[in-house]
């Protein structure tokens, strides 16, 4: 007990000192706040997805502060903009940990940005909460993954497409942005499809650069490929390229009843900029949809709508919530609970206290942090786009699914341990 208090005091005085050197007047103020870093792109190609995550994080922090903060201390957000520039993510993370002395960071969307931050948090023993669905194949002691692993999103979605309900797809176009998340996910999916008896000739893998905007050839190719049998498209396109892709789909008249597109990175927010009428029936797989009906979600949506209006955020006239926002919300609350359990913001103690944390999530289930593998147990939903840009849930898992960060469909993963390596 005594030890805890002393180290905690040490951390605090370190925070105080760091701030004190910058400005003496804020010394008294800094002593009773806990700094929290927010590391999301507010400009560049990923801004379309990440800006709201910054806003929802600020909302959650406001909410916690309004209820008295954490251990009697207010949370103080430190927002930085890594501008969709992957090396800049590492730089900004370093700045947050070493200069601003934040207790924890909430941030990143693309896997390449997370991979860029990873060595920094590991070296400086920081803490990162990563709120987005990703490809797995990673388990760091310093990261908590509140988004889905492949078995909580990609695999169930493909199983659904192959089922009678989902249209009984026999051929698959794996279409993605050219970086680590789509490449790895597609590697897993290819192995999975093979295990289901789909031949290599019935799989077409395609990649486009970040920010690609001319999807004519791709859509024409999908059309051509679909003439060879019932086809579905599995899209891991990230960021604002989705807008021209869906525009082109609509303009070329490729309907969901013929060739359904299931996306893993397209939610309510990404569809805001698109005329959704031609897209009705295309799918998305997530662990949360805004259209879910339950009291926790109603409260979450109401809180967000009120916050967006009060802060006059862009798009406040039509407030939208989505899966990574929910994951951010869960992550911050779980971190708060863990800090209170550990009675410290020290990284190692918080990590130990995170195991087994539960939180009533807006998804309608109680989310549980796994005892070992730093991932959440999450329900899986598959939704179809409606004409108003919302999703109809057409399939869901009965209970939350445990994450498998090491996909069994990648060779050699059976030997890997389901918990981070101890250092």
């Amino acid at each position: 007990m005594k030890h805890t208090r002393r180290t905690f005091a040490k951390t605090l005085s370190a925070v105080g000192l760091a701030v004190g050197t910058l400005s003496l007047s804020s010394l008294a103020h800094a002593a009773d706040t806990i700094k929290v870093g927010i590391l999301h792109s507010l400009s560049g190609t990923m801004a379309i997805s990440e800006t709201v995550l910054k806003d929802v994080a600020l909302m959650t922090i406001d909410e916690i502060n309004a209820k008295g903060g954490v251990m009697g201390k207010k949370l103080e957000p430190v927002v930085v903009d890594p501008a969709s520039n992957w090396p800049l993510f590492a730089e900004k993370a370093k700045q947050l940990i070493s200069q601003d002395k934040v207790a924890v960071m909430f941030g990143c969307w693309t896997s390449v940005s997370r991979k860029s931050v990873l060595p920094v948090v590991e070296e400086l023993n920081g803490l990162l909460f990563y709120p987005v669905q990703y490809e797995g194949e990673e388990l760091s002691k310093n990261v908590f993954y509140t988004g889905a692993a492949p078995n909580q999103q990609a695999i169930p979605a493909v199983e659904y497409l192959m089922s009678k309900e989902g249209g009984g797809a026999k051929r698959f176009v794996l279409l993605g942005t050219d970086y680590v998340y789509p490449r790895t996910t597609n590697k897993i999916l290819r192995a999975f499809l093979k295990s289901k008896g789909v031949k290599d000739t019935d799989i077409d893998e395609k990649y486009t650069p970040f920010g690609h905007s001319d999807y004519q050839t791709i859509v024409a190719d999908i059309k051509k490929f679909s003439a060879g049998g019932k086809t579905a498209v599995i899209s891991t396109i990230n960021g604002d390229s989705n807008v021209p892709f869906y525009k082109e789909l609509g303009n070329q008249g490729l309907k969901a009843t013929d060739v359904p597109v299931v996306a893993f990175s397209v939610g309510e927010e990404e569809l805001r900029g698109v005329d959704t009428k031609p897209l009705v029936g295309h799918l998305a797989a997530w662990n949360y949809f805004m259209s879910l009906k339950n009291p926790t979600n109603d409260a979450f949506k109401k809180e967000w709508a009120a916050y967006a209006k009060a802060k006059n955020l862009p798009g406040a006239d039509k407030p939208l919530t989505n899966d990574p926002m929910e994951a951010t919300y869960i992550g911050i609350h779980m971190w708060k609970q863990a800090v209170e359990k550990a009675k410290s913001t020290e990284t190692d103690k918080v990590i130990a206290a995170m195991a087994g944390q539960t939180f009533p999530a807006p998804g309608g289930f109680t989310s549980t942090m796994d005892m070992k593998n730093h991932h959440l147990h999450k329900p899986v939903f598959i939704g179809e786009v409606k004409a108003d840009g919302q999703f109809n849930v057409v399939w869901k898992t009965p209970v939350p699914v445990k994450a498998k960060p090491w996909s069994p469909y990648i060779e050699g993963n059976d030997k890997k341990k389901d918990e981070p390596e101890k250092k």
Partner: protein
């Protein structure tokens, strides 16, 4: 098996043929329960040819059907009707939407189309046949047979014949299968090819005679579809080419004719796109009735906005740097950063949403497997118009004459009394304005954000350098050539590799022919 299923359907059809109103049980079966059962119920109702069925199917497709307990309602214009009786009723508070997945929508669309086959309106019948092209199952055969028997239009009749063959191809009778395989060779539809390929799977068709015919039919359809594919590549190439042409035309003047390495060219496009965005917002707020025509006002606005910024750039910075390419490069790059940050401060760092007017959404189906989107067609036409007016301006007007004169021999032009400084400003503003037009066009196909120009600056320099500095014709050939080459390679190797290969090609080409496709003497060529 098939025959028995057929008889069942036929009998239910005959039995139900007299019913002319949906019963409460039928409605309930179609709206409530598991999808399998609902699909079966929908199939039965469709086969009965009920008068009321199309309206109910349409309501299902429009997501206008709600249920509460075992009651089914259709909600239209805020009024709730009992789905079976049609009486106006109060909608209970606990009413829930009927959720239709893709599969259900496919079933309902098919059912609706099969009912429309018997419509008296030939257009409706044609639409129904088109709808049914992608999936007819046996349950629809009786209706198709009936429609085939009474169809008077020869073209529609032959298409109905194809539909019928599509069902008979999996008939139990070998001669029927053979006949169907033969007649399907006349199809233009990719869906038919899918169907035949399905039949060609080892366990699907065992008769060698039918298999041989199937293969013949597949290759006949394939050769027909191949034309659509080839034309598709040409069209997408032309479309990309027209975009490249638009983004490069402005640069062809500022860099090509005037020799200014303008790194802010992309940002001038971005300003054009933002001008379009502003005009769109003004129309949305003040003239919502004319929203579909905002683009007409946006074109001159984009031109003027970029031209003014360009003129200001020329007057304040560039005119002091003529003949010093390196300084110009750095200065214009600095200006590009300033412009981007300026836009970020005014409009925010996020992309803004520019909506297509309704007449630019969708496309025209040129062939069964080739759809030409309207926005692409519009951009091609727009590029041609801009090119034509620019060519006219340079070749036929006084300003064009001065520009050519000044770029070819500045001292001589000055001696002849041409105000070269003024001509420079006008020419630079013209090039900038055309960049603005390109931005306006880009807003219709891609994202509009502060970084918009960054993605095109390399492309536009590539086109001008490849085409040959100082020549409009070179720019046109280079833009179209690069567009089609890029699309050919993309179809072959994917988007990422295609881009690399095009770059490598240009590097090699410039090594062999530094002056580009067409060379002309000008200030930059002399330097």
């Amino acid at each position: 098996m098939h025959l028995r299923a057929l008889t069942v359907v036929l009998v239910t059809w005959l039995l139900a043929a007299n019913a002319h109103a949906l019963t409460a049980e039928q409605v309930r079966a179609m709206a409530i329960g598991e999808n399998d059962a609902r699909a079966a119920a929908i199939g039965l109702v469709a086969a009965s040819g009920d008068d009321k069925a199309p309206a109910f199917f349409q309501a299902l497709l429009d997501d206008a059907v709600k249920t509460a307990g075992d009651k089914v309602f259709v909600v239209r214009d805020g009024k709730a009707l009992d789905a079976a009786s049609g009486a106006v009723v109060m909608l209970p508070d606990n009413a829930e939407d009927v959720v239709n997945s893709n599969r259900m929508r496919r079933e309902i669309e098919g059912a609706l189309a099969s009912l429309k086959l018997l419509s008296t309106d030939a257009n409706q019948r044609a639409a129904a046949i088109k709808e049914l092209h992608d999936g007819v199952d046996e349950s629809k055969l009786p209706l198709i047979e009936k429609a085939y028997a009474i169809e008077s239009d020869a073209k529609l009749k032959s298409e109905l014949g194809l539909l019928r063959a599509g069902v008979l191809i999996s008939s139990a009778d070998k001669t029927k299968r053979l006949e169907a395989a033969k007649s399907l060779a006349d199809s233009h539809e990719p869906a038919t090819k899918t169907l035949l390929l399905d039949r060609l799977k080892p366990d699907a068709e065992t008769e060698p005679e039918v298999r041989a015919q199937l293969e013949l039919s597949v290759s006949a359809i394939q050769s027909r579809l191949a034309w659509g594919e080839r034309l598709g590549v040409v069209f997408t190439g032309a479309s990309l080419g027209s975009i490249l042409l638009l983004v490069a035309l402005g640069l062809a003047i500022t860099y090509g004719l005037m020799g200014v390495i303008n790194m802010a060219h992309g940002e001038l496009m971005m300003i054009g796109a933002y001008a379009t965005y502003v005009v769109q917002n003004i129309f949305k707020a003040h003239l919502p009735g004319l929203f579909d025509y905002y683009i007409v006002a946006a074109i001159p606005a984009a031109f003027l906005a970029s031209a003014l910024v360009g003129a200001a750039m020329e007057r304040s910075v560039i005119r002091f740097l003529y003949g010093r390419p390196l300084e110009t490069l750095l200065a214009t790059w600095g200006i590009s950063l300033v412009l981007m940050q300026g836009v970020r401060s005014i409009f925010g760092a996020q992309n803004v949403q520019v909506e297509n007017p309704r007449w630019l959404s969708g496309g025209v189906q040129a062939m069964s497997n080739l759809t030409l989107p309207f926005n692409r067609i519009a951009i091609i036409v727009f590029a041609v118009l801009v090119l034509a007016s620019l060519a006219f301006m340079v070749a036929r007007t006084r300003l064009g004459l001065f520009v050519r004169g000044v770029t070819q021999n500045r001292p001589m032009a000055a001696c002849m009394g041409v105000n070269t400084a003024k001509v420079d400003t006008y020419a630079f503003a013209l090039g900038s304005g055309i960049a603005g037009l390109a931005g306006c066009a880009l807003s219709q196909v891609g994202n509009v954000g502060p970084d918009l120009g960054q993605g095109y600056i390399v492309d536009s320099f590539m086109v001008v350098v490849l085409g040959g500095v100082g020549q409009l014709a070179g720019t046109v050939y280079a833009a179209l050539g690069l567009g089609i080459l890029n699309k050919l390679l993309e179809g072959w190797t994917g988007a990422v590799l295609a881009k690399i290969m095009v770059l490598v090609f240009i590097v090699v080409f410039i090594q062999k022919r530094p002056q580009g496709l067409f060379a002309m003497k000008g200030r930059s060529a002399e330097a």
